[in-house]
Symmetry: C2
Subunit: 433 residues, 2 copies
């Protein structure tokens, strides 16, 4: 591919959707990617860069001269342009911005002034605003003659002179109305708006909840400054669920295409934390080394109690973390969930105490050892249920992301309690202290 002539490459790439171009870029090696983009020159549509992993995007953009990026960015929708620029170094960003036409530069600057991950960052600043006193016919004529319209739009915004939203008008409803009808008689006056400072995840909640396709974004003075469309929000929903999965497993903000060094850097902190807790847990075991020395079966059996508690805790924790993320826990539902998880912990404890008690009793021909491990299991399962719900709740109350830190706390507690309960009860029961 790369050995050939640039025109041939352009010919092949031209009809592809930008997602497909993104795919092609991800398949290539680092050097080939930049070569491909450069050989396409003006024909390269920068929107393809919104479809590739962050590390690849940054790598390509760093390899390109800022003037070339400015030319590519100038042709993008405002929201795509912000998406490409927001991760760049301040210096590169300013250089690119200053190379853009005034109008685009100001619009981009305003979007970039909103906090990271806010609705203002994700919004598109092109939208169609119409006055309430126009008729359907006037609006249709306006749409047919006006050249500078957004690429895609699903509703019209009815605004007053200060750009305060008076109503919204979905295209399907608009289309069904006769030319003579006044806009303010058919517009929806019961509409949702989103604050530009609002977090994009909150905005995504509104889309899901009210089945929105497009929503107006207003600044603090209530002025319509942009719109969010569902295609941006689909990415937010995807990313958010993705984030929870990764955080629970202790994987940072990592892509399949990250380099080895970046990957190690993203994973080591979590493993270091885990090393600390594992060493701490081993100190708990160390308290009982004399007990273990007298009865080595305890060392053989103790990981079972800890592992079962860890898994049961992870189950409760996962349900709680996701319910918190989906804002499903308020008053009545929260109390019911806590009550349920306690009972589930007790029930699991009894079920698995009996099972492991029987298995252990048969394996060692020792009923008492079976009773001891059963007791430890009941305790650890109840602890797992209780902390599996309390830890994410507490982190959420403390404004920490429960997905990030819950797992380490829960497993540490179930490990400590598992080993302590089993070795402690065994020591007392068999008089080994």
């Amino acid at each position: 591919l790369e050995g050939g002539r640039a025109e041939d490459v352009a010919l092949v790439m031209e009809p592809l959707h930008n997602s497909d171009v993104g795919d092609v870029l991800e398949q290539l090696d680092a050097a080939e990617r930049v070569a491909l983009v450069r050989s396409l020159g003006d024909l390269f549509d920068f929107s393809a860069l919104t479809e590739v992993d962050e590390s690849i995007r940054l790598e390509i953009m760093q390899a390109l001269p800022n003037a070339e990026i400015a030319r590519g960015v100038a042709e993008l929708d405002n929201d795509d342009a912000v998406y490409l620029l927001e991760d760049l170094e301040q210096e590169d960003r300013d250089e690119i911005l200053s190379a853009l036409p005034t109008f685009e530069r100001l619009a981009l600057k305003r979007s970039l002034d909103f906090p990271e991950d806010s609705a203002g960052r994700r919004m598109q600043t092109e939208f169609i605003a119409i006055p309430p006193f126009w008729t359907v016919g006037q609006v249709i004529d306006y749409l047919r003659t006006e050249k500078d319209l957004p690429d895609e739009f699903y509703q019209l915004y009815v605004v007053d002179a200060a750009y305060k939203v008076l109503g919204t008008l979905p295209l399907d409803k608009f289309l069904r109305s006769a030319r003579a009808i006044k806009i303010d008689t058919i517009m929806n006056t019961n509409f949702v708006l989103i604050d530009a400072e609002q977090d994009q995840e909150e905005a995504a909640r509104s889309f899901e909840r009210y089945d929105l396709v497009e929503v107006g974004v207003v600044d603090e003075s209530g002025r319509l400054v942009g719109v969010l469309t569902i295609d941006d929000i689909v990415d937010v929903i995807q990313e958010e669920a993705e984030e929870d999965i990764r955080f629970m497993a202790g994987v940072g903000d990592e892509d399949v295409s990250d380099t080895t060094v970046d990957t190690v850097r993203s994973r080591v902190p979590w493993l270091v934390i885990n090393l600390f807790t594992a060493v701490a847990v081993s100190f708990v075991i160390g308290l009982f080394d004399a007990t273990i020395e007298q009865m080595v079966a305890l060392a053989v059996l103790m990981p079972i109690v800890a592992s079962m508690g860890g898994n049961a805790g992870a189950q409760t924790m996962t349900v709680t973390v996701r319910a918190l993320a989906m804002r499903e826990l308020d008053g009545g539902r929260l109390r019911r969930l806590i009550r349920r998880e306690m009972v589930v912990g007790l029930a699991n404890g009894v079920i698995f105490a009996i099972l492991i008690g029987i298995v252990t009793g048969l394996r060692y021909g020792d009923v008492q050892l079976g009773i001891v491990i059963g007791l430890a299991m009941v305790i650890n399962m109840i602890v797992a249920g209780t902390f599996g719900i309390l830890i994410p709740l507490t982190l959420d109350k403390l404004k920490a992301d429960p997905a990030i830190a819950s797992a380490v706390f829960v497993t540490t507690i179930t490990d400590v309690v598992g080993f302590f309960a089993f070795l402690g009860i065994a020591g007392l029961w068999f008089g080994l202290f």
Copy 2:
């Protein structure tokens, strides 16, 4: 609320969006829910039931007489009706269907004939199909006079006499065209269609990839039979990521509002599997009981090696499972990922071997013990990286869902290898066999 008069309740509930009605239902107790629905009678909009957890939906629908459900379902869009009916018992479903008007019944039956979780199940059967030879003006007049249009639509479908799709026409593009223009000169001829038999997750991939808002669904003969809209797909995307999180934690298809018994039933199978593997792992430890008896520090330290391997394995596994779910792994990228994870495993192994080696050496004043645990750590980290990627890949090749079963295999392997390597190397090194 429930003590009062039905009209008052209706008055309060009436202006609420169906998501909010769903929320109110979830907040109530089981008995109150049914009482509320019944007291609202005809005023209850059954679409609120699409917004509540499955267990609550089934509970309410089982408590209502089928005739009442039929009346409520008749007023719903086809896709919402299918969503409510698909989980009912065959018998109830047939009774409700037979109480519906013929046209609705046939449309619902056809949707229900498609496989579960297919695009055909999720699609809406109302759409706007127009012939290619109409003009924009004719279409506008048709839309203005025709009463029986879908509630919401974002594009028009240009079809031939056999309902084969010739092109699509987004409303925004349509609106910008003059009345005299012929439809076939402005329609998009480069469009995406979805097969009704296709899995809804595949359909969701197309929406994300091509930033779709609405897409036509065709049957095996290529005839347009319905449309999928983004609001249904947002739910699919949400559910799918949700499923992976839950499956990885061994939580089944479970909601916050499930009963205690259902919750126990959903979680016990996973814990039973974990019990089996934990017992199997303990047999591995049991092989070394004489070794442990001679050097009890081994029992104190061994969970560290297993736990670090388990966490590193979970990291690799999570990245792989998600990459598989997002279809990000093909040829070049897969090879790069495997190579990267091996190197990451080795790097993590070296880093944590040194750390734990130093900690152990200092704690026990025994350099040799530090070397032994370091060696075991390197081995287990490499194993974790290797199996963290190979197990999900193999499950995917075998057409099993990697999210469900990967975790149990990976942790069992890292536990077995962790204990075996550490105790085995220690036994050889210190001559304890």
